[in-house]
């Protein structure tokens, strides 16, 4: 049986229509314009961010997590415009972020690490212990909570990264390649967790695996060369491939539609 979390904020009226709203967003990675005029609007639910390597997904995730500053255009997170003088702490308290590379101090235990991040996220001190315990349970690591990080497998480290991301019950959760290193069984329980989280938060999952998106996301943003070339429902993505309607809807159909869209985006790009 699935349990649904009721938080104090669940009943508060939201003052914004979209958790993420970007208009002509530009983000630089070094000297490169990795995100180049992107438009985006994301509300509550699980959204997939698809695209080939180098499309600008990680750079976009870093800007949405407030880790790097936009180089141009407009960005609004949880109703707060990301102007140079914006109060970032207001947004950051309600943010969860799992970066592409999540390292660790080998001598930390799982619980120490998650509690440390709860503290950085300004979770009230009497709630740090219970919040960390719950996050660790949700990612299925309760039996390893007291173990040192260096004893964990790659998939487990990834799940600790997931636990720190959700320890403050974020309203905006950004996960960059979260399924890296997970075995098939872990992927299934991870998708269940995603659906649970997406019921009252905006979850953006960046991945290059089409199957991740097909299994757990309500809609898809497809990126290519720093721009969004498609944003809409999974059905809308399938409609982009004429062959998909006749076949069964599954990984391969999504994969074909994805390839077709990318090909046409590249053709347009070269023509322009």
């Amino acid at each position: 049986m699935r349990t649904r979390t009721i938080r104090p904020t669940t009943f508060e009226p939201t003052a914004f229509a979209f958790a993420v709203r970007a208009e002509s967003l530009v983000v630089n990675a070094g000297r490169r314009r990795a995100v180049d005029g992107l438009d985006l609007a994301l509300g509550t639910g699980v959204h997939g961010l698809l695209g080939p390597n180098g499309a600008g997904k990680t750079t976009l995730m870093r800007a949405l997590s407030t880790v790097s500053r936009p180089g141009g255009g407009a960005l609004e997170l949880l109703g707060v415009p990301m102007s140079p003088d914006a109060d970032l702490a207001v947004v950051r308290r309600r943010l969860g972020y799992l970066p592409q590379h999540f390292g660790f101090h080998p001598r930390f235990t799982v619980r120490e690490l998650v509690e440390y991040f709860a503290w950085l996220k300004e979770v009230p001190s009497q709630r740090i212990g219970p919040a960390a315990q719950r996050a660790i349970e949700r990612v299925g690591l309760a039996d390893r909570a007291g173990d040192k990080m260096k004893t964990l497998s790659g998939g487990m480290v990834r799940r600790v990264g997931m636990a720190q991301a959700i320890v403050n019950d974020p309203d905006l959760l950004l996960l960059d390649e979260p399924t890296t290193g997970l075995d098939p069984e872990q992927r299934v329980s991870f998708r269940e967790l995603l659906r649970d989280l997406g019921s009252d938060a905006c979850v953006l999952v960046s991945t290059h695996l089409v199957e991740d998106v097909a299994a757990s996301c309500e809609d898809v943003v497809l990126m290519e060369s720093g721009r969004s070339v498609f944003a809409g429902s999974l059905d809308g993505l399938l409609a982009a491939d004429p062959g998909a309607s006749s076949g069964t809807v599954g990984d391969s159909a999504v994969e074909r539609a994805y390839t077709a869209l990318l090909r046409s985006a590249r053709a347009t790009g070269e023509g322009a």
């Binding site: 930390f108 991040f117 503290w119």
Partner: protein, 261 residues
């Protein structure tokens, strides 16, 4: 609000496992929401069923009480201090001890401890924000704790670690006391933080370290007298440098709100 409550006859039939299935299902739905009827059902239970339930309840409670409760580990604060800077602290101690060993018997040139101490915090400060050596730099930058206050807190930790070590080594080996190197030490650190807001903390600390080596350490070793930067006359200048750097740092604090790149 519910006005309907389970009739006594239905409760008795249900307790005796004799209620019709449809009635039992709707009664269960009502019991979920009504504490009064749950209490009445408990009264209606046959003695045998009631004793089984009581035994089960006692068993569950005993089991819960015997299991170790999740222990909140509060040790991470000390671990943060221990894990990263420990190696660096030992490094500082090694550098200063060998420097003071080299000082013995040499009266021609200023003490190496004096020449090196002001620049030692730079290595620790370099790791305080956005360092590639910090496995959490990226996530940390997305938390509300990130920013100037976290940077200053970590810098303070570095200074609180290095100053007593340098002072202690100086005391033991008879090198000049902190009176000569404490202000330069604070000044160099403050300049690193202010400059770091413009060019990035790693580049700033590397540049300053190189500049300190070229302008102070090398001339000192070469024996051209005590470098002006670590003399008593330089004290007021270093105080001014500290104040100016902190002013720049506060005015440009938004530079530390996000990672550079």
């Amino acid at each position: 609000m519910t006005t309907w409550h389970a009739p006594e006859a239905l409760l008795r039939a249900y307790a005796a496992q004799a209620a019709p299935p449809a009635a039992a299902v709707s009664l269960e739905a009502h019991l979920d929401t009504c504490a009064d009827c749950r209490a009445r059902l408990a009264q209606a239970l046959p003695a045998a069923t009631a004793s089984v339930l009581a035994t089960a309840r006692a068993g569950v409670l005993a089991r819960v009480a015997s299991e170790p409760s999740p222990v909140p580990a509060r040790r991470w604060r000390s671990r943060v201090v221990r894990s990263a800077p420990l190696a660096w602290l030992l490094g500082c101690l090694a550098v200063l001890t060998s420097a003071s060993a080299l000082d013995v018997g040499s009266t021609q040139r200023p003490a190496l401890v004096l020449l090196l101490s002001p620049a030692l915090p730079l290595i620790g400060v370099a790791a305080a924000w956005g360092s590639r050596l910090d496995p959490y730099a990226e996530v940390t930058a997305s938390t509300p704790a990130a920013g100037l206050s976290l940077l200053l807190r970590r810098t303070l930790t570095v200074l609180l670690a290095v100053v007593p070590v340098a002072g202690g080594v100086g005391l033991v080996r008879g090198a000049p006391g902190p009176g000569l190197w404490l202000l330069p030490c604070l000044g160099v650190t403050a300049v690193a933080l202010a400059l770091g807001g413009v060019v990035g903390l790693q580049r700033a600390t590397a540049t300053l370290g190189a500049a300190w080596a070229a302008a102070v350490v090398l001339p000192g070793i070469a024996g051209t007298g005590v470098p002006a930067a670590v003399t008593a006359q330089a004290g007021p200048w270093w105080a001014a440098v500290c104040a100016l750097s902190l002013l720049v740092l506060v005015l440009r604090r938004s530079a530390y709100a996000a990672l550079p790149r």
